[in-house]
Amino acid sequence: MNQSTSSSQVLNASRRRFLKQSGMVGGGLVMGVSLSACAATSADNRSETGFRPDAFLHITDKNQFHFYMPRSEMGQGTYTGLTTVLAEDLDVDPANIIIHHASVDEAFINADYGMQVTGGSTSMKLHYRTLRQLGANTKALIIQAAAQSLKVSVDQIRTENGQILVADKAIPYGEFAVLAGTLELAKDAALKPDNAFRYIGKDRPRLDALAKSTGTAKFGIDVDFPGLYRAVLLRCPVAGGTVKQFDATAALAMTGVHKVVKIHNGVAVVAEHYWQAKQALTNLKVEWEKPETLSAFSSDTGKAQFEAAINGDDFDTAFEQGDTDKALKAAAQTVTADYWAPYLAHATMEPMNCTVKIEEGQCEVWVGCQSPQIAQGLAAFYGDVDKDKVKVHSLFLGGGFGRRAASDYVGEAAAIAKESGVPIQLVWSREDDTQHDVYRPASMARFTVGLDKEGNISAWRVRRAGPNIMPYTIDEAVDAVAPAFLPNGMVDWMSKGGYGLFDGWTVDHASVEGLYEDYDASNKDVQHTTVDPGLPLGYWRSVGHSFSAFFKESMMDELAHKTQQDPVAFRLKHVGDNPKLKNVIEVAAKQSGWGQAAKNNRYLGFSAHTSFLAAVAQVAEVSVKNDQITVHKVVCVIDCGKVVNPEIVKAQMESGIIFGLTAALHGEITLEDGVVQQSNFHDYPMLRMPETPEIEVHIINSPNDPTGVGEPGLPPIAGAVANAIYAATGKRLRSLPLTLSS
């Protein structure tokens, strides 16, 4: 939203647009409006009278409060968090608000990305002010309507939990909803002062906990209706391969198999039940056309490509400050080290799945995804229907972590529905999920750091070698964000034109983010050199920070030890430009007992990192016995601005740490002749309860607006553990996953 545009203008304008879309003309009385324009489920299509101030909120005359949640709930807590901020200034208990996953509409676009997507820890940051203002303005209109119909002045009216209080009477908001719908606000209503908060900042249970503790929360995979077939898809073992020829005779002869169809990236079996489809798949014979570049890549030999790039002369400059060459020559001491992080899969607990029904030019999609808008575009393209004929029903996501920002599985499902002519639910196996992910890119980095006589950093040079995410994601995104005036053919050419079209425009910021920003140095030089084996890439929780924080924080530890300085004191000397980071470092040092002698052979490792506007410091307590690494405890301090729900912030820190520990201790995707070698949880293991450390979270009390918390808890942990291992053993581990046995 344009800062200079008042929310009340926007509110009035969006209301008019909604009324227009709904076929209503003239005034604001919302009578029997079909909400299908942005309804998530058929249950939303109730024709109730009431007040729909904008796309996000509908108050019925029966005093029901419907919130159309613009962002996806994938575990990070938006369902509770966004509802809480809306509820605060609306003055309605969040538990009394009926929450719907919004479908696709321009009203729900994420302003940071220009499309309807959930990611980058942006949800709370973007909606904290706007949803509070919506709540405040809506309440003001309800009060105006109440004053008018009760013939009292607005000053005589108070509100409490969805009730208008006047004299000794309490009347539900809903009674004034219709009248409120005819009124307009002259200017934005005032927001509550923080000390009047009833819901924000309080420990309140998650609003989705009940459904998720009773098996009644509906995920994409739970969609079912009469006549729905199940589909499974055989893809080329090397990503990007296509079908040369196939023989379906044996598969077609099996019980329950309805059809076998070829689509853009494989051959699908469509059957009555999943189990039948799954069994029939093993009887398919397919000959593949494999992509050359990726087929030629194997991890054990391929690492040499990254090393050559790190040693080579071909690079782009991503960031430059001062004169790093000169400063390195003048340095009292220069320290160089190379770091490595492998490819990683997301491994959401719910495997990718999507349900598509195409009938008479209309397409319905049921999916839990991070971008319903991209899902809509892909369903239109692969289902061969107009985009405005695609309706997306959003459901809970059984994990996102960036995986469901991509919608490849939606395209597959639409293609299978189109080719088979029946409604289908495509369900990926765990093996599909592990071997056909969009992966966290493998990365190598070389630091060359100059220090002056006092042990201060005078020059910070870092070069990163590896593939970039953007070329792999932009083809889906173009479809979603291309201006409406572009002809479809042109959009398809741009978006499906292939990898090369968007290569080399600029350095992809996600490739270098986090490598250089946190610490002071007069001279900084960030270089990038692209090495791309061709494995599809995507956004993996905390994106570039997932590797850069490990590299940078390990390097800081190395520098401190090289110059005989305490790692915490060394960091504090270099955070003059970063008071938030300074504060979390100090608090974490204090809370963890930093500086005390190791007890019971448990050693501490320190790490701190800023990402997604939040500063986080972590101290890991680690012991090493017979080369076995045990993480006993993690102390975590976060400054994420104002806290909407402290328990959810803590839960997200725990979540980020545990997700990060899986990567730090176990995570590695490797390839042989382009084929991903891991397939399921036995060879791509996850942290389980017995391995999970005690986690202690401290939240900084801050007056600033909230940042997101879904990602910032992850980046520091690998460095904290590696630095603790160094403290315990004197061994510097510069590769992930961390391992001491050779």
Partner: protein, 163 residues
């Protein structure tokens, strides 16, 4: 035709005997609480209680449960009538994405039914077959301890489901 008890009710299914119980329950009986996660019995999302034991049903042929007692999350409790453990799950805000939580609750229920006051190590052991990618383990443990501390030992009542 395979007969067994599902959440206290006698049921029968005309399905191949080698079809995993998970898919019989999800696709045939249309109960969607138990989830598909890995298909190899490695993650626990599909867990159901079979004769008192938390069991991975994505690899369990339905023929193996003939004449046996199967309890799914739907049989543990309902939104309007939560088991002690489910209430603890809500109070501790355990779920995040929530996908694995049916399986987690099944394993925790089986544990407390057999061992009403488990030690930390016993909880770790009993829950080690259930993966949570969101990392809700600290809260799961907290919720189990909270429920274990309560006088109501029965974390769910299979006879109640039968009535």
């Amino acid at each position: 035709m395979i007969k067994f008890k599902l959440n206290g009710q006698a049921v029968q299914a005309d399905v191949p005997g080698d079809m995993p119980l998970l898919w019989v329950v999800r696709d045939h009986f249309k109960m969607k609480g138990a989830k598909f996660g890995c298909g190899m019995g490695l993650c626990g999302a599909c867990s159901m209680i079979v004769d008192g034991e938390s069991t991975r049903t994505c690899v369990l042929p339905v023929a193996a449960v003939a004449n046996r007692d199967v309890t799914t999350i739907e049989g543990v409790g309902q939104p309007e009538q939560l088991s002690v453990l489910q209430q603890a799950w809500v109070d501790e805000s355990v779920p995040q994405c929530g996908y694995c939580q049916s399986g987690q609750l099944i394993s925790a229920t089986a544990l407390l039914n057999k061992n009403p006051n488990p030690s930390d190590a016993e909880i770790d052991q009993a829950m080690s077959g259930n993966i949570c990618r969101c990392g809700t383990y600290p809260r799961i443990k907290q919720a189990i301890k909270k429920a274990a501390g309560q006088p109501a030992v029965n974390v769910f009542d299979p006879k109640g489901a039968e009535a």
